[in-house]
């Protein structure tokens, strides 16, 4: 349950969310806009899973733009601990304070109370997220990279929006942050964490949506070329590749082709094949997609 007296900014009507996201440069499907609306309504974090490159991180960025608030991003990695995610004491200042009061006759208890006060606290992303006056978007990126212990101390933050510091006490959220967690599924997350979150699985966009994304991000591009690129990438994803191309790669490729002045991909099969380096990122994949394969796929691009 969210703490009383910690309001979240007024929720945007559900129908408006998709439109606002599109304005912010993110083309969302209906399920995602429902999930984002529920996030505000229920004050629950949203867990987004999906392959690398489907635009999970972009969701959080777009959400911050939609609400016009700050985005606090925390990249998870193995060995991430409380002192780099939550808070840390400012040791230099603490040492200085101890030295300065050495001969003042203050008791141990007094000094301790002083050096473990808010002045000596350094905030890290998670603490920062709950101490803002206006609720920010907190992005906990690739949570599967952190270890299980980290998940455990996320739980308090995600369900009660508070942080307990042993020397200091409990800090409650001033404004409830909108929390987005992303995971690539390299590790199974705990049930406890999953249960606290809303869940959304982000898949690669279908051809039309991907074409829309290309058009949005590369305003100068020809509509038919965008559609061709989207179709081509869609087919390449069905090939047995080691590293499936993400949306960022699609955008790179579209920009490359547009930059080279290609108008119809079928007219320039060699150029298409040569520029595939923008989306095929391993040696094996490069070898697998031969000029003949490119030809064959281009034949299917209407």
């Amino acid at each position: 349950m969210p703490p009383v007296g910690a309001p979240m900014a007024s929720p945007i009507p559900r129908e408006a969310i998709a439109a606002k996201l599109a304005e912010a440069g993110y083309v969302a499907d209906r399920d995602l806009s429902t999930a984002l609306w529920m996030m505000d309504h229920l004050h629950r974090p949203l867990l987004i899973e999906g392959e690398a490159g489907v635009g999970k991180t972009e969701v959080a960025k777009a959400l911050a733009t939609v609400h016009g608030c700050e985005l606090i991003r925390m990249q998870c990695y193995e060995g991430l601990d409380a002192s780099s995610a939550l808070y840390e004491w400012n040791y230099q200042r603490q040492l200085l304070a101890i030295k300065a009061r050495e001969n003042s006759g203050a008791s141990v208890g007094e000094i301790e109370a002083q050096i473990f006060s808010e002045t000596y606290l350094l905030e890290r992303p998670l603490l920062a997220a709950i101490r803002r006056e206006v609720s920010p978007v907190l992005l906990i990126d690739e949570v599967d990279r952190a270890d299980e212990e980290f998940e455990a101390f996320l739980l308090e933050l995600l369900s009660d929006f508070q942080v307990t510091i042993p020397e200091f006490g409990t800090i409650r959220a001033r404004a409830i942050p909108r929390v987005v967690l992303t995971s690539n599924g390299t590790r199974e997350l705990s049930d406890a964490l999953r249960r606290r979150c809303l869940y959304h699985y982000l898949d690669f966009p279908d051809v039309d949506r991907e074409a829309a994304i290309i058009l949005w991000r590369q305003p100068g591009i020809d509509t038919s070329l965008a559609l061709q690129v989207a179709r081509m990438v869609g087919m390449l994803r069905k090939e047995d590749l080691r590293k499936v191309p993400g949306i960022a790669e699609t955008l790179d490729w579209a920009a490359t082709l547009a930059g080279l002045g290609v108008e119809d991909m079928r007219q320039e099969p060699e150029m298409v094949h040569d520029t595939l380096i923008a989306i095929l990122k391993t040696h094996e994949d490069r070898a697998r997609v031969s000029p003949e394969t490119t030809q064959r796929l281009l034949g299917k691009v209407a």
Partner: protein, 397 residues
């Protein structure tokens, strides 16, 4: 807890609707969805919003709330339609049964019914000897001398019910001992590399600010993760019961382990093995492992493993243990490619072959020969002693 009571006095829907919702939650729990008190209250709040006016919207909303993994999403729609719209109720029942058998049913259709017992894990599920196993593993069986006599016997020769029960207990003990060795090794390190400023300062207050007691921190050693791939094909049948028990014990005592079972297809069985009670675990396993046809497709199964599971279950301190006799009916090239791929991903590959114990055995099977260059340790596993001999090797990884 009564689901209806959970919803309590949440604002919104009337009593009839709440009852329906509670019933729906029960159905989902039956299909192994993780739904707690807070989720139900939130669901009640959703019913009070405009989302509840249209079934598709309500479905999308409840789906985001109640699902917690990708495999839940696919099952949710059918369960929702069956419950709220009375459509396809029979299919939903089947889905519920699947959910019980496995949290993540992949390609395996695990329907209920006794006929599944005949495949994959014959007799193991029904063997009466397993019933006393869990208690026995905690050391109720005594007398080291008794173990001595069995531990050198070939597993196939453990015909008598009593012998086999003891062998299974030994397997459990072995798995536990392997873990104990690993944890002791971690504890032995006392000092660290980095100074822990936080606790040093904390302790310095007592000395008037002089940091006399230095506190260190050290990297927490990563526990070894064991991924076991167990061959459950026909040719392995004499050993399957024993190995299954061994794998079960490993799953319970290792902090991190994953288990897979393969014959002509690969099944992820970790969730079944996490069941404490051995007979229940084996029941679930038998359900998941059915569908044995002729032959073993090791190469194909390993390729499936590499493609769908390896990324998630293998990390920097992972040992992959393959328990198989190496009789592969697939193409040896496929096995070779799959082994090469696996080699690249993980730190150690151990291949235990029960046939290796026989004096005259040479690894001449085509598949076995193709796989050997990529194996770090190729060891016999025909008796308990040979398994025990692995222990120091695993501790060194």
């Amino acid at each position: 807890m009564n689901a209806l009571a959970c919803i309590g006095d949440a604002p919104g829907p009337g009593p009839a609707m709440r009852k329906r919702l509670a019933g729906f939650a029960q159905t989902l729990r039956g299909a192994s969805f993780a739904i707690g008190h807070a989720e139900l209250q939130d669901a009640a709040r959703i019913l009070a919003t405009p989302l509840a006016e249209r079934p598709e919207r309500l479905r999308a909303a409840l789906k985001a709330l109640f699902s917690s993994r990708h495999s839940d999403l696919a099952r949710f729609d059918e369960l929702f339609d069956a419950f709220w719209r009375g459509r396809g109720a029979k299919r939903a029942n089947r889905i519920t049964a699947q959910g019980l058998a496995s949290r993540s049913p992949r390609k395996f259709e695990a329907g209920p019914g006794p006929e599944h017992r005949q495949g994959g894990l014959p007799e193991t599920a029904d063997a009466p000897s397993l019933d006393d196993g869990s208690a026995g593993g905690r050391g109720r069986k005594g007398g080291a001398s008794a173990h001595e006599s069995i531990s050198t016997k070939d597993i196939r020769a453990l015909g008598a019910e009593k012998d086999r029960a003891e062998a299974l207990v030994l397997a459990e003990r072995l798995a536990r001992r392997m873990r104990a060795r690993l944890t002791r090794r971690e504890r032995a390190r006392r000092t660290g590399r980095r100074l822990d400023l936080r606790s040093t300062i904390r302790h310095s207050v007592a000395h008037g600010g002089e940091p006399i007691e230095l506190k260190f921190r050290r990297r927490k050693p990563k526990p070894l993760r064991l991924v076991v791939l167990l061959d459950a094909s026909g040719s392995m049948e004499p050993y399957t019961a024993f190995f299954t028990r061994f794998v079960h014990a490993v799953s319970l005592s290792f902090r991190e382990s994953e288990a897979f079972l393969f014959h002509t297809r690969l099944a992820h069985v970790s969730s079944a093995l996490r069941e404490r009670d051995p007979s229940r675990a084996l029941d679930r396993l038998a359900l998941m492992a059915q569908g044995v046809g002729g032959g073993t497709k090791i190469g194909e199964c390993l390729a499936t493993f590499n493609r769908w599971h390896a990324r998630r279950v293998i990390h920097s301190r992972t040992c992959v243990m393959i328990l198989s006799d190496g009789y592969d009916t697939g193409a040896p090239e496929l096995l070779e490619a799959a082994m090469r791929d696996l080699r690249r991903r993980c730190k150690r590959i151990v291949w235990l072959n029960p046939l290796l114990g026989a004096d005259a055995y040479e690894p001449s099977a085509r598949g076995m020969r193709a796989a050997l260059p990529f194996v770090d340790l190729f060891a016999p596993a025909h008796d308990i002693d040979s398994l025990a001999a692995l222990e120091p090797y695993l501790a060194r990884i």
